[in-house]
């Protein structure tokens, strides 16, 4: 690496930007200039803190019921009290505590879901895009097969047959989301493969492993990191959607999706039961989307130069 750097002309890029981590360190400077990045990071940190320290932060046990306090409104509405800042649900459970625990459920599902989907998708997409021909046909055939399956049907099969569990939800998302990563990776590889510098690397006798890892992968990191943050926020949605249909994690788990589906029953009389989980989902996604935007700008130096 050091030798290669020495061979490069000094004025091509600042030295710090040559590696992935170098770019991230360099990025701090831009974070301080970009308000949307700061907001995204803050929102994400709040949610991550809630997820990690849920037992310490929540005033009540998210599962303990108290029917005498059922459907209490939030503190700032008549009849509410600061004992239950967000009010309580139909079984008298503290909504604030449930929202905090919900962050833990949502982040676990989306993180491992994206890890699985990205792992499968990037490998499939890169190989398909690079080798083309039969490899491409077979891989993209599999990708098309998964994409042509109506998403919910897949979910219904696994959820009704294997039962509602955290692991099943992660598996479902990991598999159904992989084609998106594969498609994006393949599209990028198809484009990059045709570029002059890749052809010259082939002419210079580089093996396929070296071309993929050294010449194509670095150009994929930007788009894929961006995609990963967006897919993470999308999975938080998907969980909510599944919970809404009664197919997510078991009903006893305080997930935002399960809370939404309970809240829908009391939409007109006690709208806060559905409002707060929805807002929680919104702010989490917003944070991740802003963070993703910022990461993309930072990780793709070409784009940043274009912005200046």
């Amino acid at each position: 690496m050091a030798r290669e750097q020495a061979l490069q002309p000094k004025d091509s890029l600042p030295d710090v930007e040559r590696t992935f981590w170098g770019r991230l360190v360099y990025a701090r400077r831009f974070l301080l200039r970009d308000w949307s990045g700061i907001i995204g990071l803050l929102l994400f940190l709040v949610v991550a803190t809630a997820a990690i320290f849920s037992p310490q932060l929540s005033p009540f046990d998210p599962l303990s019921q108290n029917l005498r306090n059922s459907k209490l409104p939030p503190a700032w509405i008549d009849g509410g009290s600061w004992d239950h800042p967000f009010g309580t649900d139909s079984l008298g459970r503290d909504l604030f505590s449930r929202i905090i625990y919900g962050a833990r459920v949502s982040l676990t599902i989306s993180f491992f879901g994206v890890l699985l989907a990205g792992g499968i998708g990037i490998i499939m997409g890169t190989l398909a895009g690079y080798f083309g021909g039969r490899v491409d046909d077979v891989t993209m055939g599999a990708v098309n097969l998964i994409l042509s399956l109506p998403y919910l049907l897949f979910v219904v099969f696994i959820a009704t047959i294997l039962g509602r569990s955290l692991l099943n939800v992660i598996l479902i998302f990991g598999i159904t989301d992989a084609p998106i990563f594969a498609r994006v990776a393949r599209g990028e590889v198809l484009r990059i493969r045709e570029l002059g510098y890749v052809e010259s690397a082939i002419c210079a006798g580089a093996r396929w492993g070296r071309i993929i890892f050294d010449h194509i992968m670095p150009n994929l990191i930007g788009p894929l990191i961006t995609l990963a943050t967006f897919e993470m926020s999308a999975m938080i949605f998907y969980e909510a959607g599944l919970g809404f249909l009664g197919l997510s994690v078991p009903p006893t788990v305080p997930s935002w999706g399960n809370m939404l589906s309970e809240g829908q029953l009391y939409m007109v009389n006690a709208p806060w039961i559905a409002t707060f989980p929805g807002l929680a989902i919104m702010f989490t996604s917003l944070g991740m989307n802003l963070l993703g935007d910022w990461l993309r700008d930072v990780l793709d130096p070409r784009l940043r130069r274009a912005r200046r």
């Binding site: 098309n144 097969l145 042509s148 998403y151 052809e199 249909l245 709208p271 929805g278 070409r302 274009a306």
Partner: protein
């Protein structure tokens, strides 16, 4: 070109076969479809007679052959709940879903592409900030939650729109708006980032330096390249809209295929689920085929199946 399209066609037929295979074995994953489909409180004798009636006691290859030959004719058996052929039900619900998804996609494209292009050409401008805000909000708000909130506000409190059903032209506005929201923001982002990326390519600088009219560069060099990612995302988006319609149709009691599948989940009506699954798959496969054809037409650089490419 013709050979390429023919191979895509064969691929699509194979895909369809794969879908049928998956749908068939999905129901048999636990080993006993009869207990899966019957209510939990059914007696052993009831399960046994149901198994007899559905033919689940025959050898699996024979069952599959039977399923396949019937499926080609659009026969997926009778819905367990409605007791009428499942395909008939699906086709009856189709116009409502296509209307909803079509309106959603159309408005998403009409709003998103101009916003994305303006944002890409003038990053940091007021229009760009607006476009990014719309995109980021559209992607951050869970759309069926927004649907619930909109019903409380616009239907229950203000009486501007009907809260459910498909009775008048105003009925489609709220469902189509929330259904198309995530798609719209995805397309805004994609268009904007594609324009930004292509603008910084070397061939654009070359075009400027040889003194071409900027308008020619915008249309011929930039927009033509932006079409490539757009076409692929539109193909995928329609599948997403059909999937997303399950939630939205459930919230608005929109009488389409999405609501039907939501109900079929509750009833464990597997013949009906199979029929919808295969039907929607056929639609998505057809769209993928069209996407592939469009790819070849708009991007001559991508030569499929030819390893010895002569790129310019």
């Amino acid at each position: 070109m013709q050979r390429h399209l023919l191979s895509k066609l064969i691929q699509s037929v194979l895909l369809l076969f794969g879908v049928l295979l998956l749908v068939f074995f999905g129901v048999r994953m636990t080993g006993d479809p009869a207990t899966l489909m019957m209510p939990r409180e059914a007696t052993t004798a009831e399960v046994e007679s149901f198994r007899e009636a559905m033919g689940f006691n025959r050898p699996v290859p024979i069952q599959f052959w039977d399923f396949l030959t019937k499926a080609i004719h659009g026969d997926f058996g009778k819905s367990l709940h409605y007791k009428i052929p499942a395909m008939e039900l699906v086709l009856g619900r189709l116009p409502a879903t296509l209307q909803l998804a079509g309106v959603a996609l159309l408005y998403a494209l009409l709003v998103a592409i101009p916003l994305g292009i303006i944002g890409g050409f003038h990053p940091g401008s007021l229009a760009d900030s607006f476009g990014r805000l719309v995109a980021i909000l559209g992607q951050s708000v869970p759309n069926f939650w927004l649907a619930m909130m909109m019903i409380v506000l616009f239907a229950v409190r203000l009486h501007w729109f009907p809260s459910f059903g498909r009775f008048e032209w105003k009925s489609v506005i709220m469902p189509a708006f929330v259904l198309g929201l995530p798609t719209m923001s995805r397309i805004v982002r994609l268009t904007r980032s594609s324009v930004l990326e292509i603008r910084s390519e070397d061939f654009i600088r070359t075009a400027y330096s040889k003194g071409l009219d900027p308008r020619v560069i915008y249309v011929k060099h930039v927009l033509r390249n932006v079409l490539i990612p757009l076409v692929s995302v539109i193909g995928v988006s329609f599948g997403y809209l059909l999937g997303g319609s399950i939630y939205i149709e459930a919230v608005f009691a929109w009488p389409g295929a999405g609501q039907l599948i939501e109900q079929a989940i509750g009833w464990r009506d597997f013949p009906l689920i199979q029929a919808i699954a295969v039907f929607v798959s056929v639609v998505v496969i057809a769209l993928n085929l069209l996407t592939d054809i469009a790819y070849v037409i708009i991007d001559p650089r991508i030569r499929y199946g030819e390893r010895t490419s002569t790129s310019t």
